[in-house]
């Protein structure tokens, strides 16, 4: 019998010490207590005031005890459920579990047929959802675009209505405000079997984005209130630019982003105690030459790692970022930037890692990038799974029986473990030259496109209930009526 035996079952990455994390934590409390945020929402300020915040005009400051109490109320571990009950598509949020998915709202999309950049249309939401549903290492769905070929007020509603039937993986829903949030929620609730059933098994996550520096916009807060009222798991994620809309230093931007996100946390917990809440923040640098928010910078991964450690120190999950690139096409730059950020994100165990498939610094969504990153995530996950050490894996018996000058191919031990010990690629080519030549000498990007088209022509996501289909039709008809007289 072993005693006091310690197991590391995966690769453990840790950057900041407890002392450093406490300093970051105190920094966030300081910003919220002494500086506060401008909250552009009357009702929200009233709720916050009643909860114990100090309100002067639009400015809301929050005492540290209230922040700590709100952190205490929010769960560290919970489950987002697949709409069809498929346990493999459930997402269990908790320590040491990194999940991946695309991101919301780029105006453009890389056409899967022509490979050209063009405005994002409704059918792209179907394409993205179908491919996401099939990819083994992509866990949740976002649309990778803003639907441009419908009434602008309904683009988020159509986006969700298109995605929902085409994947049973949980969706992170983006919306403009109350009305389209409600369209989305009605669809999800119809499938769940009513509001009460939804609350027991939430099948999507709601996404809101405040403004940096230190502004809670009306839309972000209104959407937060909607999510809190209906018990929808919530992401509250600012997008600060280091050196532009946030301090240039990694520690500084982490503190500011956390303060921006935790204002949402305090409000959400005041409305709905115990609401699952993801701390957010896409933290990266403003490139001081190109004047863009860089999605391929090493600082993005580094800052996100710091934010992840702070969130986990504070006891809440984090909305991570990775698999994205500043490249305009599916090329070597996209592969380098996307793969490294996926790997680093996987190491941090950041809970939901989004923007897998962002190209052109978030201006163009590319499902091809997502497909290529599925491979990088699989690769990363093999590494983070680590090395198992036990009597069987140490294999001294096998080494003994094979001895010098033998081989392991015929060993039962090899047969038993080769499927799980080894990771097998879907896209990376390991054939010899002649085989590769015979298969058409395809470079990586051709294999990515081929796999994407293959999924689209063959994959059949599990269907939604017939009554949900009817509900979607009715919800979208009502939505069209709502905007028929608006330009």
């Amino acid at each position: 019998m072993r005693t006091n035996y310690r197991i590391n079952s995966g690769v453990r990455f840790k950057m900041l010490s407890q002392d450093q994390l406490q300093e970051l934590f105190d920094g966030v409390l300081h910003v919220l207590e002494k500086i506060g945020l401008d909250v552009h929402h009357d009702e929200a300020r009233d709720i916050l005031k009643k909860a114990g915040a100090w309100v002067e005009g639009n400015r809301v400051r929050i005492p540290p005890y209230l922040v700590k109490r709100s952190l205490e109320m929010a769960p560290r571990s919970f489950t987002i459920y697949a709409r069809d009950g498929n346990p493999e598509h459930n997402i269990h949020i908790g320590p040491g579990r990194a999940h991946f998915g695309p991101g919301p709202t780029p105006p453009n999309f890389t056409d899967v047929e022509t490979l050209e950049r063009r405005p994002y249309i409704k059918d792209d939401a179907r394409i993205v959802a179908t491919v996401v549903d099939a990819l083994p290492n992509i866990d949740f769905c976002e649309s990778l675009g803003t639907v441009s070929d419908v009434h602008p007020d309904l683009s988020a509603s159509y986006e969700f209505a298109e995605m929902f039937p085409h994947t049973s993986k949980p969706i992170v829903a983006w919306s403009f405000g109350w009305d389209d949030s409600n369209d989305i929620h009605q669809i999800a609730v119809a499938e769940a079997g009513g509001q009460e059933a939804f609350e027991k098994r939430p099948n999507y996550v709601h996404y809101c984005e405040p403004l940096s520096p230190l502004v809670s916009t009306f839309e972000a807060i209104d959407k937060l209130i909607f999510a809190a009222r209906y018990r929808i798991p919530l992401i509250f994620t600012p997008c600060p630019l280091a050196g532009g809309t946030a301090p240039v230093t990694a520690a500084g931007i982490i503190i500011q982003a956390a303060a921006e996100s935790w204002m949402g946390l305090v409000l959400a917990q005041a409305i709905q105690p115990g609401l699952p809440f993801f701390m957010g923040g896409v933290l990266s640098v403003m490139d001081m030459s190109a004047m863009i928010l860089s999605y391929g910078a090493p600082e993005l991964s580094l800052m996100m790692a710091g934010a992840t450690e702070l969130a986990h120190y504070a006891g809440i999950p984090l909305w991570q970022t990775g698999g994205c690139t500043d490249s305009k096409i599916l090329d070597e730059q996209a592969a380098i930037e996307g793969s490294l950020s996926c790997f680093f994100s996987a190491l941090t165990g950041g809970d939901l890692c989004h923007d897998v498939g962002y190209t052109e610094s978030g201006i163009t969504g590319s499902i091809l990038q997502t497909v290529m990153m599925d491979e990088a995530i699989g690769y990363s996950r093999r590494i983070t799974r680590g090395i198992e050490v036990n009597q069987d894996t140490l294999a001294t018996d096998v080494i003994h029986s094979v001895g010098p000058d033998g081989d392991y191919l015929n060993e039962e031990h090899t047969k038993k473990h080769s499927k799980t010990e080894f990771w097998y690629p879907n896209l990376c080519d390991r054939h010899n030259f002649e085989e590769w030549e015979e298969a058409g000498q395809k470079p990586m990007r051709d294999r990515v496109v081929e796999r994407t088209k293959g999924i689209l022509s063959s994959h059949k996501p599990s269907p939604i209930k017939p009554e949900t289909e009817k509900a979607i039709k009715a919800i979208m008809e009502a939505a069209e009526k709502r905007v028929q007289n608006k330009p």
Binding site: P107, T146, P152, G243, M286, S289, A290, G362, I363
Partner: protein
């Protein structure tokens, strides 16, 4: 004389924003005209900064500092310039449109335009169409620049243009628009005169608007 002007150019390039007032007064004391200080001292300095920025040898914070340095000198020169009837390159009115609170891109445009010798008035964020209209009447800009980051607020750009038309001001100004989701075809669709994908391009578009013909 050229030594004094050179030191003004150098001060702009190095971003000596606290020294530029003294240098400007010195130059005026040596009988240099405000016009010469602007066109032979400040502008060549800013042109150099612009070139260095384009090739990646200077970065935004340094360019910002140079622009601030130039602006500090302009505060002294402006009354003298208008006394002698010397025109600035042009006047640019800027704002982030109604419903949108994002302003860093617009601030960069302001900086780049100031550096290019324009007089810039920045209306800030969440600017109502009526506020643009009032400011056009007051400030009489040659160019109006509108910014939006959100696909929802992009629509305010069209509304603002309509307000210009209704007020009979549309032909008095050139309009350029920008912001992450904004495209050339959107600019054409709503009837703007120009589109810029980034701040450096915006000042180029503004300069083009001012070319005769």
């Amino acid at each position: 004389m050229s030594e004094v002007l050179n030191s003004i150019s150098a001060a702009v390039i190095q971003g000596q924003k606290d020294d530029i007032a003294n240098l400007t007064h010195d130059a005026l004391g040596k009988e240099l005209s405000a016009r010469d200080i602007l066109y032979k001292g400040l502008m060549p300095g800013m042109d150099y900064v612009g070139e260095k920025f384009k090739i990646g040898d200077m970065f935004v914070p340094e360019v910002m500092r140079s622009a601030r340095t130039m602006a500090n000198s302009m505060e002294i020169l402006k009354p003298l310039l208008s006394e002698t009837g010397v025109e600035m390159v042009g006047r640019v009115l800027l704002g982030t449109v109604k419903g949108d609170l994002h302003d860093i891109g617009k601030n960069l445009v302001a900086m780049m335009c100031e550096g290019a010798g324009f007089e810039v008035k920045d209306l800030g964020i969440n600017v109502e169409p009526e506020a643009f209209v009032e400011a056009i009447k007051e400030f009489e800009p040659h160019i109006v620049g509108m910014s939006a980051l959100l696909t929802t607020t992009m629509r305010s750009m069209g509304d603002t243009l309509k307000a210009f038309e209704e007020a009979g001001l549309r032909n008095r100004v050139k309009v350029m628009i920008g912001g992450a989701p904004v495209t050339n075809s959107f600019a054409e669709k709503i009837g703007a005169d120009g589109y810029a994908p980034d701040a450096a391009a915006a000042s180029d578009v503004a300069k083009k608007f001012m070319e005769p013909g």
